[in-house]
């Protein structure tokens, strides 16, 4: 079975709406959630996620995010990850952040490539939080080998060169790299960036173990059609 994960910006549109979305994801058996902790300068994100993040930052801080994360953990039965940027962790105090984040399964840090991940990994390891590593169309086969070797959780395969909110397509070269990542790797290879619909999931899952949907989920929340959207993915 192909796994489906949903990315939600923490406390967007507001706290109640966010927790309701978490509940819907749980009800429709979404496999995993990525909770985005907003950062002021999200360079890996397109306009939809950036706008949502900046909106939340007008009224909330990391303390609030952890409160909501705790509630989300109680509601949602699947695997739970926090996705953010390096300085949200470093600037808060990496140790303090890791301690408060213990309830999650893993951390996804958009501006933390493998070569810089060592210091963060050592801290998160102590709290049993898996650091998620990336592979991309720019990765060499050697890079992918390294990521497979070090990963204790899924590999986040960025489907295209670009930022979140684009459209989904896979060229043959990238598909080959995804296959290579899956070969002799006993965890999942999850595709992200640009996946929007049931149709995209169908296409992606010919190659990968699962997908994560971000921008389109945020749009559905903004347009008050989140439950229908999640339902449509599960039909």
């Amino acid at each position: 079975m192909c796994k489906v994960g949903i990315y939600l910006v923490c406390d967007y549109l507001n706290r109640d709406g966010f927790l309701k979305a978490v509940e819907i994801c749980n009800r429709y058996k979404i496999d995993f959630l990525e909770i985005g902790f907003p950062f002021s300068d999200p360079v890996a994100d397109g306009p939809v996620i950036e706008k949502a993040a900046l909106d939340v930052l007008k009224r909330e801080n990391t303390g609030d995010f952890f409160k909501s994360l705790k509630s989300a953990r109680e509601i949602f039965k699947g695997r739970l990850y926090v996705m953010t940027y390096a300085n949200v962790i470093f600037g808060y105090g990496s140790e303090k952040f890791a301690k408060e984040a213990q309830m999650v399964d893993g951390m996804i840090i958009a501006d933390l490539p493998l070569t810089e991940s060592g210091k963060f990994k050592r801290i998160f390891d102590r709290y049993n939080i898996n650091l998620i590593h990336f592979a991309t169309p720019e990765s060499s086969y050697e890079d992918i080998d390294k990521v497979k070797k070090i990963s204790k959780d899924f590999i986040y395969f960025v489907s295209t060169r670009g930022i979140t909110g684009g459209s989904f397509s896979l060229d043959q070269e990238t598909a080959d790299k995804i296959n290579y990542a899956r070969n002799n790797f006993n965890k999942d290879v999850i595709l992200g960036f640009g996946i929007r619909s049931k149709d995209d999931i169908h296409k992606a899952c010919k190659t990968a173990d699962g997908v994560v949907i971000g921008t389109e989920a945020i749009r559905a929340i903004e347009e008050n059609r989140f439950e229908n959207f999640i339902k449509s993915l599960r039909q």
Partner: protein
């Protein structure tokens, strides 16, 4: 290569950019060894850009402050600021790598103009990202970039200043990394950019050292430069850093006051954080969100700083201090009237610092890096001062 300056620097970028950074680093090593590339760079610096720039003993200003003040005249470089040293170098490097398209961010518009100029000269497609607020306060440079054939993209997100322009340029780069070189305009960003920018700007320090020895017979007591991202400062400091008796002073924008949000004094008031690919001093709140910053000068209006400056602050080799908006505006007028030289508002911070601290410079020999000329600032100065 080691990507760090002490604990600062590194490559905090999306994984998608790592291959490009590796290729850039390899190409830079090759470029430095390549005789033909070096010859071309020297050729353009001399015959196109107008190097060497003079080191000028500003007598009236010296009498006024009671010191011997030499100005390193980067304002006389083609396009009016030190930025062209870096853009000529990096465009040659980009050509060397086979890239077809150049993107850049700009704050004051000087780096944008210098990029558009070098791109026109060497026939490259050029896109410049610029915050909306900066397009308004540095309008003359927007027209110059367009005339030079660049596509200027107005960034209406976030602070709408230099920081937002870098965000947008990074997003473009992730998408177009196969064809595009990101020509970063200061000694900031992920490694190897801080090293590349220093390499191309070090010509300022080399010349200044030779010139001061010729004119003064010995090294100066102090070298003063303004610090935005830190490229003109690292460029001139590089010529003197090994001479421990030469005091090096980096002047940041004190803005309206030293309350968070009202200045851009990153090294003076910040603490280590990660932005735009590097760990460096950063103006941020207690949660690691990047703070709003302010400076009357668009080129200094930036919450981070080049990682090597963080290193040089911690080890004490360079002293960093501030000049406030008002002091810089006063210095802008003062130097214009006194020497017939209109300094850029950025450079006015270095001048203003010397004026404000003239007691401690008494009878000393000081070099101020006059990083650019102030024609671009007439509008904003008139608006503030009338």
């Amino acid at each position: 290569m080691n990507a760090y300056y002490g604990i600062y620097g590194g490559q905090f970028v999306p994984e998608t950019l790592m291959r490009a950074l590796r290729e850039l680093e390899d190409a830079f090593v090759q470029f430095k060894k390549n005789k033909e590339s070096k010859r071309k760079f020297q050729y353009y610096l001399k015959n196109y850009a107008g190097r060497p720039t003079p080191l000028y003993l500003a007598e009236n200003f010296s009498n006024y402050v009671g010191a011997q003040v030499y100005l390193k005249r980067e304002d006389l470089l083609h396009t009016g600021a030190h930025k062209l040293n870096n853009t000529l170098g990096q465009i040659l490097l980009a050509k060397f790598m086979g890239k077809k398209r150049i993107i850049a961010e700009t704050g004051a518009g000087q780096h944008g103009v210098a990029t558009a100029t070098a791109a026109a000269l060497l026939n490259m497609e050029c896109v410049v990202y610029m915050g909306k607020k900066d397009m308004e306060r540095q309008a003359p440079n927007v027209d110059r970039m367009k005339l030079l054939g660049a596509n200027v993209v107005c960034v209406e997100k976030g602070s709408m200043t230099l920081k937002s322009a870098i965000n947008e340029a990074l997003r473009d780069w992730v998408k177009n990394v196969q064809t595009t070189h990101y020509l970063i305009g200061s000694a900031v960003g992920p490694y190897p950019f801080p090293e590349i920018v220093k390499y191309f700007q070090s010509v300022i320090g080399k010349e200044a050292k030779k010139q001061i020895m010729e004119q003064n017979g010995k090294l100066p007591d102090s070298v003063v430069a303004c610090v935005g991202g830190g490229s003109n400062a690292i460029g001139i400091f590089s010529g003197f850093v090994k001479y421990k008796d030469v005091e090096l002073i980096g002047v940041e924008a004190g803005g309206e006051s030293l309350e968070l949000g009202k200045h851009s004094a990153t090294l003076t008031m910040g603490r280590p954080g990660i932005l735009h690919g590097a760990l460096s001093y950063l103006l941020q709140d207690e949660y690691g969100q990047v703070a709003n910053v302010h400076s009357v000068s668009a080129g200094l209006d930036y919450p981070s700083v080049g990682p090597e400056h963080s290193y040089l602050k911690d080890n004490g080799r360079v002293k960093y201090d501030v000049c406030f908006d008002n002091e810089a505006l006063d210095a802008f007028k003062l130097l214009s009237k006194m020497e017939g030289i209109i300094p850029a508002l950025e450079s006015s911070h270095a001048i203003g610092y010397v004026v404000e601290h003239k007691d401690r410079f008494k009878n000393r020999v000081v070099i101020v890096n006059l990083s650019g000329r102030g024609d671009k600032d007439l509008g904003i100065v008139k608006q503030i001062r009338g």
